[in-house]
């Protein structure tokens, strides 16, 4: 009996994970674009799980983020320790427990790339950047956009990004960033608040 129950549970899990191709990709693109247009601010908790495949190790982090159009992002880790990234248009602040550093995005290519990916991932419109080949999938719970980098330098550090939307396409629910060696980072967004009032002064660090 136990074995049968386990098989049923496994079958259900397999079904839940089983993604098939989306037939009407144009309609899904439109929904995502519509979502990006109507969402002006997002506030959410997140959990981040880094999986190091070779070591069979996970690094768990938790935090909170606030996004506001255009190009304002506060990304804050609370565990395992405090760490803050603030993006305000072309400025980026990184604050750890000891130091605060401010960078100009235009003078630093790496930060510009990080900014573009973070903002586009949070907004869900990363597929519009033209830097990825996009494949569309769905299961009962999610739409999944599988983004494969087209640029050589990005391919060296990123194999693909899986972006999950809930079926009503109101916001990004989950992200997987897969590296060439199959290490991956999963970001899951919980306690989301869309289009709430957000003060501008949280997007600066003194």
């Amino acid at each position: 009996m136990k074995h049968i129950l386990a098989l049923i549970l496994l079958a259900q899990f397999g079904f839940a994970q089983n993604f098939k191709s989306v037939k009407d990709t144009a309609a899904l693109r439109l929904k995502v674009e519509q979502m990006s247009k109507t969402v002006n601010s997002i506030e959410s908790d997140f959990t981040q799980e880094k999986n190091l495949s070779l070591l069979s190790e996970k690094i768990l982090s938790k935090g909170h983020f606030v996004f506001k159009k255009e190009n304002l992002l506060r990304w804050e880790y609370n565990t395992p320790y405090k760490y803050l990234i603030v993006i305000n248009k072309d400025k980026i602040w990184i604050k750890d427990e000891k130091k605060t550093a401010k960078y100009d995005m235009n003078s630093n290519k790496v930060f510009k790339e990080i900014n573009d990916i973070m903002i586009a991932c949070v907004q869900g419109n990363i597929f519009k950047s033209g830097k990825f080949k996009v494949a569309y999938f769905e299961n009962e719970k999610y739409y999944k956009l599988e983004l494969t980098p087209l640029q050589k330098n990005m391919k060296e550090s990123l194999k693909k990004i899986n972006m999950y939307f809930d079926k009503s396409v109101t916001s990004v629910a989950k992200l997987d960033m897969v590296e060439p060696n199959d290490d991956y980072t999963t970001l899951e967004f919980i306690n989301k608040k869309l289009n709430g009032a957000v003060a501008d002064n949280i997007f600066t660090v003194k």
Binding site: K50, I59, E156
Partner: protein, 211 residues
């Protein structure tokens, strides 16, 4: 002219002082010799499929890197030192095999041979790899008993805290002190400093995963 004399004097006294540190440690009487193994001196990389995770701060020249360092043994003779940024980007993966530390992966922007060599060599010293399975002399000074090893042109002095954890190490290149590391609370905190033209600081603060 007087300015140059002052600089020369200061440099000479500095050299004299660093040589003094070496002479004092080298000249102490040896109370015994021992083959240093992981029972006598606990390793930083845990065995039994466990890992150690540290919040890491690496300062080199004007650059300041932070992230998480994972130390893990993957088989009997292999361990890994993996540095991941807070955002989850893997910056480097060093493989420890026997007494060598080699880079298996380094993020493109950091992949400069001098920088990588400096880091692998520093982690080799932090993990006390050069002293394991070597015959060392036991000596004492006012800081306590220390293991003394002369290995080709380099010399190592390792003091212990209770429970066979390392407490303090000094590494000499010739007679000049090249680096030192301080270990606190059973390896919960490691502070490493490399001297010389390119200064390097590595601080490792253990992450308590039970919280």
């Amino acid at each position: 002219m007087a300015r140059w004399q002052t600089i020369f004097l200061q440099l000479s006294s500095l050299l004299l002082l660093t040589s003094c540190a070496y002479q004092k440690l080298n000249k102490q009487n040896t109370s015994g010799k021992a083959l240093l193994n992981t029972k006598a001196l606990q390793p930083l990389i845990p065995s039994n499929n466990q890992s150690a995770k540290y919040k890491a701060e690496i300062d080199v020249l004007t650059k300041h890197f932070t992230g998480i360092v994972v130390l893990k043994q993957t088989d009997e003779s292999t361990s890994h030192i993996v540095f991941v940024t807070e955002l989850g980007m893997r910056m480097f993966d060093f493989v420890v095999k026997g007494d060598s530390v080699k880079a298996d992966f380094v993020f493109d922007a950091l992949n400069k041979p001098q920088f990588v060599n400096m880091l692998t060599s520093s982690f080799r010293d932090i993990l006390l790899i050069p002293v394991y399975n070597k015959e060392v002399e036991e000596k004492s000074n006012k800081l306590g008993t220390y293991y003394w090893l002369k290995d080709r042109e380099r010399s190592f002095a390792v003091w212990k805290q209770t429970g066979n954890f390392a407490k303090h190490t000094q590494v000499f290149n010739g007679k000049k002190k090249s680096s030192q590391a301080k270990y606190e609370a059973n390896y919960s905190l490691v502070k490493y400093k490399q001297k010389g033209l390119v200064k390097l600081k590595i601080n490792l603060i253990k992450i308590d995963e039970t919280k």
